[in-house]
C-alpha cells in the first residue's frame, strides 16, 4: 500500500459539467430487451433511473474545458502552473489531450501538462499528482477528470450502458491551509474484469473489431468496454471497507471525525453495501449520483459534490474522504480539508458560463 501525507495544500474549486442529453431507463430499455418487470427490479435493487450523456462528437475535454472556464470566472488562470487530465477517452491516441487543453484554455506556455489513463480511481490518483507537484514547489494545479463513457460502452450492452453517464470536472488545487492523506493500491491480476480488449497494441484494431458479438450480458464489439459485474462487485466489497480502515489508521482519525464520505458512484447498490459495512448513514455518504446522472467514472466524486453537496462545500469547513475503485484494478482513498470552496451546482454542456 502506498501511503502519502501532505501539508499546506488546499482544494479551492470543484466544477462538473455533464452531457446535456438525459436518457431514462424506460427510454432505452428496448436496446437491452428489458421488460417492465425488469425495469422495476433494476430501479428498486440497483438504483437505475436516468443518465446524462453527450451528443455524438463531444469529447471529455470539451466538458472539462467548460468546467475549467467556470473556475476561471473566479480565479486567475495565469496562476495555473500545471494541467493534469485524467481520462480514458482522450481526444486523440496522441498527443496528450492536456497539452491541447493548455492552448484551448489560453493557459501559459510555461505549464507542465500531461494525461493519466485511469478510470474510477482516477480522481484520487489525479489529486495525488496535483498534491505532489505542489509539495515539490508549484503553487497552483488544474486537475481535469472525466470520461465520455458513451464513447466506449456499446448501446446494446445491457450490463454496462444503462449505468454510464458522461461528465468532465475541473478542480483547482493551490498551496494553502489543509492536510492531505492518501492510500492507494493496484492489482493488475484483475485487468480482464474491466477492459476494452481491442484497439491497443496488444490486440490491434482489425476488420472484426466493429462486429457485434452476442453475450449473455448483452451485445458488444471488440472496441467496447467489457465489465464482469459480479467480479467487480466482489472486489469492491472486499477492498473498499479495508482501505478505509487503512486510511483512518494512517491519518489517525476515526470515522466520526469525517463530515462526508464522497465515493466513486459505481451504482447505488454497491454504495448501500459499503455504507452498511461502515455503519454510515446516506446523509454522510451520498449515493444518488448514478441514479440521476449515471456512473461518471473519474468525475463521479466531483460530480457528487456539485450534484448533491454544493451548498455544504461552498459554505463550510469540512474534513472529507474521497474514494475511487475500479478499472485496473486500481483503488485509492484520500482525506482532505476543504474550507468554503467554489463548488457550484452541476453544469450542463453547452450551458452559458455566465448563467447563474
Amino acid at each position: 500500500m502506498a501511503k502519502l501525507h501532505f501539508e499546506n495544500i488546499a482544494i479551492k474549486a470543484v466544477v462538473t459539467t455533464v452531457g446535456d442529453k438525459k436518457i431514462t431507463i424506460e427510454e432505452e430499455a428496448h436496446n437491452f430487451g428489458y421488460d417492465d418487470k425488469m425495469i422495476k427490479r433494476l430501479k428498486k435493487r440497483m438504483g437505475f433511473n436516468s443518465r446524462y450523456v453527450v451528443n455524438g462528437g463531444v469529447c471529455t475535454s470539451d466538458l472539462c474545458c467548460q468546467s475549467a472556464e467556470k473556475i476561471f470566472e473566479k480565479f486567475d488562470k495565469s496562476e495555473v502552473e500545471a494541467l493534469i487530465f485524467v481520462t480514458q477517452t482522450p481526444d486523440y491516441k496522441a498527443p496528450s489531450t492536456a497539452i491541447i487543453m493548455q492552448d484551448r484554455l489560453a493557459l501559459s506556455k510555461d505549464i507542465v501538462a500531461y494525461d493519466i489513463n485511469l478510470g474510477c480511481s482516477g480522481l484520487i490518483n489525479g489529486l495525488l499528482h496535483s498534491y505532489s507537484l505542489i509539495n515539490s514547489g508549484l503553487e497552483t494545479v488544474l486537475l481535469c477528470v472525466g470520461d465520455v463513457a458513451s464513447n466506449f460502452s456499446y448501446y446494446k450492452d445491457k450490463n454496462l450502458t444503462p449505468l454510464m453517464g458522461d461528465a468532465g470536472s475541473a478542480i483547482l488545487i493551490k498551496k494553502g491551509i489543509g492536510l492531505g492523506d492518501f492510500v492507494l493500491h493496484s492489482d493488475g491480476s484483475g485487468y480482464k474484469h474491466l477492459i476494452i480488449p481491442e484497439g491497443g497494441c496488444r490486440n490491434p484494431f482489425n476488420k472484426d473489431s466493429l462486429k457485434e458479438n452476442n453475450f449473455e450480458d448483452g451485445v458488444r464489439r471488440g472496441v467496447d468496454l467489457y465489465m464482469n459485474g459480479s467480479e467487480i462487485f466482489n472486489f469492491t466489497l472486499k477492498v473498499v471497507p479495508k482501505m478505509f480502515e487503512e486510511l483512518f489508521n494512517f491519518a489517525n482519525v476515526s470515522k466520526e471525525d469525517i463530515d462526508y464520505f464522497v465515493l466513486h458512484q459505481a451504482n447505488k447498490y454497491i454504495l448501500q453495501n459499503i455504507a452498511k459495512k461502515l455503519e454510515l448513514s446516506g446523509e454522510k455518504l451520498p449515493m444518488d449520483t448514478m441514479t440521476i446522472y449515471g456512473n461518471q467514472n473519474s468525475a463521479s466524486v466531483p460530480g457528487t459534490i456539485n450534484g448533491f453537496l454544493s451548498d455544504e462545500f461552498s459554505s463550510k469547513k469540512l474534513k472529507v474522504l474521497f474514494a475511487g475503485f475500479g478499472i485496473g484494478l486500481s483503488w485509492g482513498a484520500c482525506l482532505v480539508d476543504v474550507d468554503n470552496i467554489f463548488a457550484p451546482k452541476i453544469q450542463y454542456y453547452g450551458e452559458k458560463n455566465d448563467k447563474k
Partner: protein, 74 residues
C-alpha cells in the same frame, strides 16, 4: 441460524415471491439472475463467508445455496 431462517433470508435477498424449499431448482426462481447473485454475495459477506462469483457457477438447487453457508446453518 436455522434452515427456515436461512430460507427466509434467501427470499428477502433474492426478492422473490417464490416459496423456497431445499429441492427447488434455482432455474425455477424467476428472480434468480445476475442481480440476485450480487445480493447473495453481499448476504454471504455479511455472514463473514468468503463466497465469490465463481462459487455460483455450478449451483442447481436451493440446497446448494445452503451448502455455501456451511456451518452458519444449524
Amino acid at each position: 441460524m436455522t434452515k427456515s431462517e436461512f430460507l427466509e433470508l434467501l427470499v428477502e435477498t433474492i426478492d422473490t415471491e417464490c416459496e423456497l424449499n431445499e429441492e427447488l431448482l434455482l432455474d425455477e426462481i424467476e428472480e434468480y439472475d445476475s442481480i440476485a447473485i450480487l445480493s447473495l454475495m453481499s448476504m454471504y459477506d455479511d455472514l463473514d463467508l468468503k463466497v465469490g462469483p465463481t462459487d455460483f457457477k455450478d449451483l442447481k438447487t436451493v440446497a446448494d445455496l445452503m451448502h455455501l453457508a456451511g456451518s452458519k446453518i444449524e
